[in-house]
Assembly symmetry: D3
Homo-oligomer: 304 residues x 6
C-alpha cells in the first residue's frame, strides 16, 4: 500500500478466506490502489494478530492467531507466477511468509525462482519471528535456499543467527556513535560473502529509548562500501508496527527511481520514521512528505 501511495503500480499476492472478514481486508487493500487480482479466495480462517500497543516504559506485545489461516493453505501451485511477474520491475517477499507453513514456503520458493529466471530484482525483509515457525521445519532448513536467489536483504542479528547460523563474537562488534556496540558490519560482510547473487545487505539500527521514543537509522553494504543513513530521533511515537515494511516499500521505490543505494536508504529511513506517527500497520505517506523529511526542510510544521 505504501508503494501505491508513492505512485507505483503494485500487486499484492496473498490469500483470504471466503467470508466477510476476508472481503473487508481485501477492500482495505483495494482502497489504497493496490492490485489484488492474484489474491486467492478460499479457506475458512482469516490470519489475525492481537496487538497490545506499548507506551512509555511498557513494551508492546503481539499474540498471533495464524494457524490454519487461508494464507497458510497456499502451496507451490496456488499462484501462476509466470503471469504475476510478467513485466514486473521488482519482487519483494518477507521472512514471515515461509514461517507460516510449508506450503507458503514452497510458494515463496517458486516465486523467487521465476523472478530470478526473468532477471527481476528480488528483495527480502528477513523478519524472523520467534512466535511463528510452528509447522515442523526449522528456519535453517528453509531460509538459505530462499535467500540464495535474493539480491537485497534487510537483515538484523537475530535474523542471521536463526536463519544462517551467523553469530557475531565480541570482536565483531564496533562502537557506532549514538547506537553503542553494533555488529552490522560483520553481519553484512558475512551475508554478502555467502550468497553469490547478493547485491546489497541493509541493516536498520534502532535504539529503543522507550516504547514511545526511538532513534532509527540504517546502513547499506554493497559488497564494497558501507553507506550510513540519516539518523531520526522519533519521540511521541503513535504506532511502531509496520516500520520495517514502510522502510522496504520506500527503499524499493527510491532504488528504482534513483538507481542509488544511499538515496534509497535515506528515503526508506525517512518513510519509516513518518510511519511511526501513523496508526495502523501500513504507511500512507506521499513521496512529497518523505522528501521533505529527507531534506529536513519545514519538517513537522503546520502547513496553512
Amino acid at each position: 500500500m505504501s508503494l501505491a501511495q508513492f505512485g507505483d503500480q503494485v500487486s499484492y499476492v496473498s490469500a483470504i478466506p471466503n467470508n466477510d472478514l476476508g472481503f473487508t481486508a481485501l477492500r482495505e487493500v483495494n482502497k489504497w490502489g493496490v492490485n489484488t487480482d492474484h489474491v486467492k479466495v478460499g479457506g475458512d480462517k482469516m490470519g489475525l494478530y492481537f496487538l497490545e500497543k506499548g507506551a512509555s516504559l511498557r513494551g508492546g506485545n503481539i499474540i498471533y492467531d495464524r494457524a490454519g489461516s487461508a494464507f497458510s493453505e497456499v502451496n507451490a501451485d496456488t499462484y501462476n507466477w509466470e503471469e504475476i511477474l510478467e513485466g514486473a520491475d521488482w519482487f519483494h517477499w518477507t521472512g514471515i511468509t515461509p514461517a507460516v507453513s510449508a506450503g507458503a514456503a514452497e510458494a515463496t520458493a517458486r516465486a523467487i525462482k521465476i523472478a530470478r529466471e526473468r532477471k527481476i530484482p528480488v528483495s527480502c525483509d528477513l523478519n524472523y519471528r520467534s512466535k511463528l515457525w510452528k509447522y515442523g521445519l526449522e528456519p535453517k532448513e528453509v531460509m538459505p535456499g530462499l535467500i540464495q536467489n535474493t539480491n537485497i536483504v534487510l537483515a538484523n542479528e537475530e535474523d542471521v543467527a536463526k536463519y544462517l547460523g551467523i553469530v557475531p563474537q565480541e570482536s565483531n562488534y564496533e562502537e557506532l556513535e549514538g547506537f553503542g556496540k553494533r555488529s552490522y558490519s560483520f553481519i553484512s560482510r558475512m551475508v554478502h560473502a555467502r550468497f553469490p547473487h547478493m547485491h546489497s545487505v541493509i541493516t536498520t539500527l534502532r535504539q529503543t529509548i522507550n516504547a514511545s521514543h526511538n532513534r532509527w537509522s540504517g546502513v547499506v553494504y554493497n559488497g564494497t562500501e558501507f553507506f550510513h543513513g540519516q539518523v531520526h530521533d522519533i519521540s511521541a511515537i503513535v504506532d511502531r508496527v509496520g516500520g520495517g515494511d514502510a522502510f522496504m516499500a520506500a527503499f524499493i521505490h527510491a532504488k528504482l527511481k534513483y538507481r542509488d543505494l544511499e538515496k534509497a536508504l535515506n528515503f526508506g529511513l525517512a518513510a519509516a520514521a513518518l510511519k511511526l506517527s501513523i496508526p495502523g500497520d501500513y504507511n500512507v505517506v506521499t513521496e512529497a512528505e518523505v522528501d521533505q523529511l529527507v531534506g529536513k526542510q519545514g519538517v513537522s510544521m503546520l502547513s496553512r
Copy 2:
C-alpha cells in the same frame, strides 16, 4: 474566549450563516462568556477548516474551505463600529480577516479608523496565511494601510515579507541561544520605524523539534528596548492550533492589568504554552493557572 476566561468583558465581532451550523458555533462562543450581540447572522455558508493533526515527525496540515462564507460577505457598513467600540479598552484584529475578502478588509479598516479616533489601543496578529488571499488584492495593497493605525503587532519574518516587503539579509540575522540564527531584532526595528503610531512589536520564537515537541519564547520591542520572555520547553503537545491567539489574548489581558510589556509578554507566553496541552483551537486556562507557570511553582503537578 480566552480573554473571557481571564475575567475580561469581551465582544466577538464576526458573521455566521443563518443555519444550525452557525447557531451551534455561536452557542459555543456564548458558552465561554463572550458577548456576541454584534455577530451578523446571514448568508448560507459556514467558514470551515479541516485539520490533520501532526504528530512526531509528521507535520500537520490544514485545508481551508472559506470561499463564500457568511463572514466573507461582510463589508464596511455591516457593523456599527461606533456602538461596538463604545467604552472599549482595546481593539484586536488578525491578518486572517482582510485575507478572506475585500469586504472583510474594508470592515477591518473601518473598525481600526474608529478605534484610532477614540484612542482605543489597537493590536494585530499579522498571521499571514499563504492558502488565503484569493480574492484579487495582494497583501501588500491592503495590509500597510491597516497597520498604519495599529499600535501593537505580533509579527514574524513571513508576515513582514509578504505584507511590507521587509526581507532580512544575512547580516540581519543574529545568533539567539537555543533558537539559532534569528532576524527578530531587524524586523522589529524596521516595523517600528516605518509606522509612527507603532507602540511595540512582538515576535514569537518557535523552535519545532518535532510536531509533538516545540520550544517557544518571544521578544517585545518598544522602540527603545528589547524584552526577552521566558523559554518554554513543550513536549507531549496535544494541539498546537491556537497558540498565537492564546498568546495575544493573554498579552492583552496582562498589558491592561499590569501596564508592563515584559509582564504581558511572559503572561502571554505561559498562556500559549498551556494552550498546546488543550484540544481545540481556543484557550480556556484561568489566570491562576497561567500565573503558576509564569512563577514556575508547582508546575505540572497533580493537585489533590
Copy 3:
C-alpha cells in the same frame, strides 16, 4: 489488585453503598482476583473523584466528592479484624483512610492494633491529601498514634510536616544528583528515630519535568543504611494516578519474596514506572514484566 496480579492472595477491606455503583466497583475488584468478602455493603453514596488529566505543561487536577460516602460511615466495630487478619503475612493501610472520617480513623487504629498483637508487619503510605481531613480532627491528632505501631512507611516532606511536625531546615537538604536539593535523609532519620517499632522508611523521589515526563527514583532507610533505587526516566506518561499505590504493592510483594530491602525498592520502582504507562488508577503488570524493567533487558521492545 496489583498484588493479586503478582500472584499473592489479597483481601481488600472497604465499604460500598448498596446500589449498582457499589456493586460495579466491587465486580471490578473481583475481576482482578482480590477477595472482597470483608467489604461492607451499606449506605447511599459511592465515594467519587473527578480527574482532569494533566498533559505537557498543564498539571492535573482532582475534585473529591467523598463526604458522606459509604466508606466514611465505617467505625471501629465495622470489621472483624481478628478474622480478617487470621493468617495474614502483611497489613497495609494508607493515610487517605483516616483522612475521610473519625470512624475510618478508628477502624484503622483497631486494625493496626490487632495486626501488631499478631506480629503481622504493618506498612503505610502516608499520602497526605490537603483536600481531605474535613471532619474536625487535625492530622497531627490522629496520625502519630497510627504510625506508632506501623513498621514501614512511605513518607515525603509534606506528609511528615503535616502529620508529625517534622520540617527540614535549609541545612537538612543535600544535593542528590539528578534530583536537586532533597531532605529525604533528614526526614528518614527523624521518622525512624521517633517510632520505636519502625523498621524502615521509604522516600520516593519524583522530578516533574512536565505532566507527561517525570523522573522517578526512591530511597529506603533501615535505621542504619540508605539504599538508593534505580532511576527511571518516564516520558510519554499515560496516567500518573496510582503510581504510589503501584510502588507499595510491588514493594510488599518483593519484600515478602526476597526479604531484601533493596530488591523490594527496585521492584517497587519498576512497577510504579510501568504503572504510569497504563490508564486507570491501579496497576495490572505481571511479575515478569516488572522483572524485565528491573533487569533492563529488552525493555520497551515489541514482543513478537
Copy 4:
C-alpha cells in the same frame, strides 16, 4: 433552556459548587442562552445523578447523589427574589426543589410568596421523587403550603397521594380510550377545589408500551372544562428523561403567547414528544419544529 430556544428571556435560579464541575454546568446553561446571574456559587459538591437508560422491556434506573450538594445549602435568604422577579411574566418551580433540603423548601416558599404579591403567575411540576425527601420533613408537611399560592400544577396520581393525601377510589377511575382506566378527572377536580388560587390542573397521560415506546397525551382542567390534548405515539425513544420539563417549558411559552389552555397543552405535548428523540435531559427544539408536529404536516421527514 427549552424556553430560551423558544425565544423567551429566562433566568435560572440555582446553586453550583465553587469548582470546575460547577462552572462547567453553568457554562452549559449559558450556552443555550439562559441568564444565570442569580445562580449562587459556593459549597463543595455538585448534585449528581447516575442514569441507567432503559431500552426495550428493561426500564431505566436512577441513583441520586444529591445529599450535601451546593443547592441543598440554599435557604430563605440566599436569593434576592424581589430583584429576581422584577418584571417577570411567570415563575416556575418543581417539586424536586423542596425535596432536597429544608433550606431549599424555604427558598421556594419565599419565591412563591413574592411572586404572588406581584401577581406573577406561578406554575409547578409536582414531580414526586420517592428517592429524595431524606431531610426529616414529610412531603405533606411542606407541599400544601407551597401549592397554596401556585396557579397551575402538573399533577399525577402519585404526586397528589404523597403531597395532599388525595387517593382515588375505584369509582374515581374512568376508561379513557387508548389509556385504560384513569383517575385524572377526579384528581384534577380535587386539587382544583382545594386551592382557591388554582387556575388549572394539568395531567400528563403516559402509556409505557416499553422503555423505547410510549404513548403520551395530557388533559388540562380549568375548573370548568377538561381539554384533551393530541395523542403522540412515540417509538424509537432516544432518551425519556426530561419529558416533563420539556412539556412545562413549552406549555408556559404557549400559554403566554396564545393565552389559550388548549393550545398551550398541545404545544407542550408536541415539545415533550420531540424531547424523547433527543439525548440529554433538556429540550432544544425550536418553536417551528414543535409547530410542525402540532400541525402534523411533514412530520419526521428528512428536510433537504
Copy 5:
C-alpha cells in the same frame, strides 16, 4: 457502489478537489470496487452536506455546502463521454446533478445525448431538492430537455410539479390500501405520455410513520400496465439517507439481469429496505441478501 456489490462493472463520473478530502472520498469509492478513472481532479472545494439524523418523531435535516465545489465546475467538455460510454449497458443520472450548476447541467445533457446515440438505456432519479437550484436557471428550463432522451425515470409528485408543471388535481388521487390517497397513477401516465422515448415510470411509495419507522413500496408503469411492488414495513431504521439511490442501483441490476420490470421493482424495493438498516449513504448489501428479502425466507434471522 451498490451496483459493484451486486457484481456489476460500474464507473463513477464525478469531480473531486485536488486535496486530501477529495482523495479520501475517491479511495472510499475505489474500496467498493468502482472504477473512478473518469473522475476529474481539480478545484479547491469538496461538496459537503451536514446531516442531522432524525429519530422517532423528529425528522432529519440537511445543510448543503456545495456552492463552488469541484463538481460544480464541470462543463460540457469536461468528460470524454464517447470513451466513457464505450461498451456501456446502462447510463444513470440524477436530478441533483443539473441542480448544482449550469456546467453540470451541460455535462449531463452531453452524456445523455451520446448515450441516446448509442442506444444505451438511460435512467434518472428525478430527485428534486428545494435547497439546490441556486445558479440562476429554473428546473423547468433545464429538466424537460434532459428527460426527453431518458428512458426510465423515478418520479414523485414534487419532482414532476417542479420540473414539468404536472400537478395532480383532487380527482387525480386514488386510495391505495395502506398508503392513503396517492396520485402515482396520474403522474406516471402524464410523464409517460409526454416523452416519446419513455419506457417506464417508477414511483416509490413511502409512508413515514415516524423518522425511525417507514413503510415503503413502489409502482412501475410501462405505458400499459402498472406493477405494484412488495410492501416493506421498516421499523428501527438506522439511516434513511440513500434509500432512493439504493433502489435505483438494485433496479438497474435486476432489470439488466432479468429483463423484467416487476422483478426489477421488487429487487429494488428489497435493496432499499435493507439500506435503511445500514449507516452511511450508500448500500453495501449483496445480491444474496436482497434475494432473501424478496423471497421473504429466513428474513432478519441471525445466521450461525
Copy 6:
C-alpha cells in the same frame, strides 16, 4: 454468569489458551462471580466469533473461528468430573460443545455419565449450529448418546431434525395463535417418547418480525401436559445474541427454587426478553428485575 447474578453458586468448566486473551476472558467471567477453578489453561488459540449485528430488516451474521481453539483440545480426561460435580444440584451442557471437536464431545459424555450416576439433573440446550460440526463426525452419531442421559432439553425443529432425524410432516403442524403453524407439540412428544430419562422438553417460540423486533414465548412438556408461557413482544432489541442461554440460566434457577415447570418457564422467558435489551452475549439482570416482568408490574418505567 446469569446464574451467579441470581445468587446461585456456579462453576464454569471450559478451557482458555495460556495468553492474555485467555486471561482477559477468564477475568470477565470471574468479575460476575463465577467459579473458574476448573477451567483448563493451555493451548495457543482463543475461540472467537465475529458478529455482524442485525438491525431492522437486515439479519445478523456470525463468522466462527474456533478450529484449533484451546477448548477444542479437551478430551475425556481433561477434567476431574467427580470433583467438579461433588455437591452439585444441576449440570447443564450445550449442543455447541460436542460440535467443536471429538475430544469436546468425549468430555461432555464423561460429564453426563458422572452426573447421571450421582443423580444430578442434567439439562441441555440442543443449539444446533450449521457452521460447526467440522471434525468428521455427524451430529447424529454423537448427540443421541449424550441426550440419552439428559433430563431436560431445549429443542427446536432444526435441532431434532439434525440430531435425531425427527422431521415433522405437514400434519404435525398446528396453528398457535400469534405464532402461525408450529410443530412444537409433535417434536416434544417425539423427543420425550424416545428417551426414557427425559423429564421435560422445552421449545422456545420466536417470531421474527424483524431483527429489531421479535415476539418470544415458549412451551414446556413434561410427558403429560403442555405449559404455555407468557408472550413477550420485544421491540427495540439491543442485542439478540445470548437469548437462549439467558432462558436456560433463568429456567434452571427457577426450577431449583420453585420446583415448578410453569414458573420456571415464565421466569426463563422474562429473563430472555430482558437479555435482548442488554449488549453482549450474557445476561446480567437480577432476580428482582425478572420478577417484575413476570408480574408485569411497573414494567419498563424509569425508577427514580
